[in-house]
Symmetry: C2
Subunit: 341 residues, 2 copies
């Protein structure tokens, strides 16, 4: 391994001078800088960031800890985070918890252990609150993105689950739908809880009755039982049967549509489907689903800005910023007015 001592020797200066040249700290004569830089190039020196972290307690490394690397929402978020990080001189690494609280804990240990300067964190579920304590204990700044952990006093970038739900339900309502099934995410995940809450509130607002028989709960990213749920819903007596499905994320929506397909149910002729979050642009061959799209990129971009602000100001000040990003309604082809039939 090449160290500053090696280049110091080669350049005939002291290690300290090498350090100064590398970090642009303190004054160094042009002549010496050239000598040192030449030696650095010659030896292809790369600083050892472990050693640097040890003394500096800073790594210029940020970690994005998310729950599903395969979800386009999060990949876009990651792009945003990366862009902002690089703008500000940081590097971003990703850790994928796979919605698994145990993996999450392990990764947090790694993150603390390796000394990331900060974490952009989208918790797996409500049990993640334990992990928050870890961050605090070890004084590593973090920003919550997309998924809140209520009562946690940190900077946050969240979506507006109520507004999004309202946009979707309003649209369905205007299309004449009165029985709208909710296919929700796990009831221990913030966004799922918030969307269910919103679903109920908006129902009240619209004067619709909330029917427990129309509410289901699925995993956010792998559902083998979508078909099962669809069958149950369709087997309800006609006056209770839903005419529309509200899926609480894109992945669930797709699974529902697939299940409907498999059962030869036409969307939107026989049933309408909407969901939170847009589809992968890469795969929306059919710009099919009517959705509310969230500005995923901005979640990452803004979140990283907040994170770095906090790192730099080293301010565990109590002024915590909470940015709420508005969703946008995208009318496409998976919904249809009921009077058309």
């Amino acid at each position: 391994m090449v160290t500053i001592y090696d280049i110091a020797k080669l350049a005939n200066v002291s290690p300290m001078t090498v350090s100064r040249v590398i970090n642009n700290t303190g004054n160094t004569s042009e002549a010496i800088r050239e000598k040192v830089n030449k030696a650095i190039d010659e030896l292809e020196y790369i600083p050892n960031s472990s050693a640097r972290s040890l003394t500096l307690k800073e790594s210029k490394l940020l970690t994005l800890l998310i729950s599903d690397i395969a979800n386009p929402f999060f990949t876009k978020l990651a792009r945003g985070a990366e862009d902002k990080a690089r703008e500000l001189g940081y590097q971003l690494m990703l850790c994928n918890t796979d919605e698994n609280i145990e993996k999450e804990k392990e990764y947090i240990n790694v993150i603390i252990s390796t000394g990331a300067d900060g974490v952009l964190f989208s918790p797996a579920n409500n049990s993640s609150s334990k992990h928050i304590k870890l961050f605090n204990k070890h004084k590593i700044p973090f920003v919550l993105v997309d998924r809140d952990i209520p009562k946690t006093k940190v900077d946050k970038v969240l979506g507006d689950n109520y507004a999004g739900t309202k946009l979707l339900l309003n649209h369905l309502f205007e299309c004449g739908h009165k029985r709208i099934a909710l296919i929700n995410g796990p009831n221990n995940v913030f966004t799922a809880i918030a969307r269910k809450e919103a679903y109920k509130e908006v129902h009240q607002l619209l004067g619709l009755t909330v029917n427990e028989e129309l509410m289901y709960e699925l995993h956010y990213n792998r559902n083998n039982d979508a078909e099962h749920i669809v069958m149950k819903l369709l087997n309800l007596p006609k006056n209770k049967r839903p005419t529309a499905l509200f899926a609480s994320n894109n992945s669930i929506a797709i699974d529902m549509v697939k299940a409907l397909h498999a059962l030869n149910i036409n969307v939107p002729d026989e049933i309408s489907v909407v969901c939170f979050d847009d589809l992968d642009p890469n795969s929306a061959i059919n710009p099919f689903l009517t959705v509310v799209m969230q500005p995923a990129y901005d979640f990452g971009y803004i979140g990283t800005q907040l994170l770095i602000d906090r790192i730099k100001n080293n301010s565990s000040s109590n002024k915590h910023r909470e940015v709420i990003l508005k969703p946008e309604f995208l009318l496409r082809d998976s919904t249809k007015s009921i009077v058309d039939r």
Copy 2:
């Protein structure tokens, strides 16, 4: 920050004993181990891996360096890598180069700098060969996945581009297609080069003529000019106009289909489309495209196995393993026999 000194004090032992307990190295009495472990729990101690790396020169950290985090091929690969890494006691972090050679270089610096034990590497393009030298110079083991850099003597997990191309072209040929356009990736990316090569060879094999007018080159993951290309192809005189499109990855294929849609060209009635790599399972509402699927998960899983083998044996031995993973042909709805018309 909590260090072994803190727990040493609390447990009334020497720091060295704490270290032994943590690492299960040397003998320690049961009583002391309990005391120490209790102190560790109480103080929520997490080892400082920078310090550990410094002395040990090992971090139990692997890095997956890929070019497009949004491509389902790579996300599946990442899952496989992660699973194997965890099985074997390593953690995996991701770096996304965005097909950008500059970003790639920066990330490699970070990787070397932070002391990852090894890298699973899918190079951005052929210029990445420079970066290979960096890995070698700094003696960090790496395994090439999906994209080869010819003449590089390391372990590799690659797809069979010839076999895949042949499956696809054979199918089209059997359907009666004789003019098959190639919409390829960048001509400095290994898979694109290999697929073009294969495209030509198989054409010869089938007695088809290769026409330069039918070959185009696009970026692998963002193409604004897909429509432009489609128009050019369709504007060819009828006896030169392609009856099928061979896209060299999923993303390109989707862009082509979108462009065809926009121009009101029906797939597969008016033109057939095939591609390398399956679509995101999450988004294939319409299991639409006929493709050759590669076992993406295995690329990561096997690659990580090779990588860790090499790390553990510390063997820069010359016996380099090269695993070739076979693609699988999936007949779906984007291709049609020409005689049907």
